[in-house]
């Protein structure tokens, strides 16, 4: 079965680039433009194995979205990788408390992203 990854970023360039890199590595990628869109996509798309999330997004930001994912028993077990420009220790600490598994600072290196996604999905 192909591993499905949800990429949440308000930048279409980032969604495009992540989709391209992970697509070449054999993953199926679903995109969402913000936290609310991501929560809807998680309900629609069965079998999401990993969420890759930006932090600074309009409407519902990354940490607010992660909190909602973790508090819903249907989605609480999905690992989350943050992909952001932020390197603020306070935000990383908050993400750790929310159960985030990895924190990447943009711009990402394709080989680092693929290795992390494989590790977190077991694929």
């Amino acid at each position: 079965m192909i591993n499905k990854v949800l990429v949440v970023d308000d930048s279409s360039s980032i969604r495009q680039r992540v989709s391209s890199v992970l697509g070449e590595a054999g993953f199926e990628v679903v995109g969402a433009v913000d936290g609310f869109d991501a929560l809807a996509k998680l309900k629609e798309a069965n079998g999401v194995r990993l969420v890759i999330a930006d932090i600074n997004m309009p409407r519902l930001n990354g940490l607010q979205m992660i909190s909602k994912i973790q508090s819903d028993e249907k989605t609480a077990g999905i690992p989350i990788l943050v992909l952001t420009t932020e390197g603020d220790p306070d935000l990383i600490s908050e993400a750790r408390k929310l159960g985030v598994k990895a924190w990447m600072v943009k711009p990402f290196k394709p080989e680092v992203l693929v290795a992390a996604v494989k590790k977190l999905t077991g694929g």
């Binding site: 930048s11 279409s12 495009q16 952001t84 220790p89 600072v105 990402f108 680092v112």
Partner: protein, 185 residues
């Protein structure tokens, strides 16, 4: 040793820009900074609000062609055309993302000087919307980087200089990831 915030900011902008452009595959040396941000139909820009110890906004302006060369979306420049509206939307978004990544680096570097601020979500601009806003950035702090027709201009409007708690950057925890890096939690 820097002696005041403007010197620190100038150095952080120069280093952040150099790293940001190199990571995007282009080398753009510093140019003398323009006093005005002049734009035409070939330009795209990102605009980001800054709040906290730095209050204001930052605008980064470049051209369709240079942003395409940076391949932020991963699409080869030869596959992008100025005659396609969809490609303008993608390039405009890429300019917003480049601005986001540049400001992120600035924020991460300035934290070492004890300066903390929050970053809004980038607004991508081109055409009349850009023209209408760019002229408001004249007289602020500006910087330019480029070679030949490939130029990036940056302008920052700030309410006031923030207090500096350190004139030299303080070391971050070794646990903090750098740009391109990953931290497993």
């Amino acid at each position: 040793m820097k002696s005041c915030f403007p010197e620190v900011l100038e150095e952080v902008i120069r280093r952040s820009a150099d790293e940001c452009f190199r990571d995007s595959g282009v080398t753009l040396p510093p140019l003398s900074a323009p006093s005005q941000l002049q734009t035409d139909d070939s330009h795209v820009a990102g605009l980001i609000d800054l709040t906290g110890q730095i209050e204001g906004s930052l605008m980064l302006v470049s051209t369709f062609d240079l942003i395409a060369k940076m391949r932020l979306s991963g699409i080869a420049p030869a596959c992008l055309s100025k005659s396609r509206a969809g490609d303008w939307i993608l390039i405009r978004d890429s300019a917003g993302e480049l601005t986001n990544q540049f400001v992120g680096r600035m924020k991460n570097r300035l934290r070492g000087f004890g300066i903390r601020f929050n970053v809004g979500t980038p607004i991508a601009l081109s055409g009349l919307a850009l023209k209408g806003l760019a002229h408001k950035y004249g007289g602020g702090r500006t910087a330019a980087f480029g070679r030949g027709p490939d130029v990036v201009r940056i302008a920052i409007k700030m309410m006031a200089d923030p207090p500096l708690t350190s004139m030299e950057p303080q070391a971050e925890s070794p646990e903090m990831p750098r740009e391109g890096g990953i931290l497993l939690l």
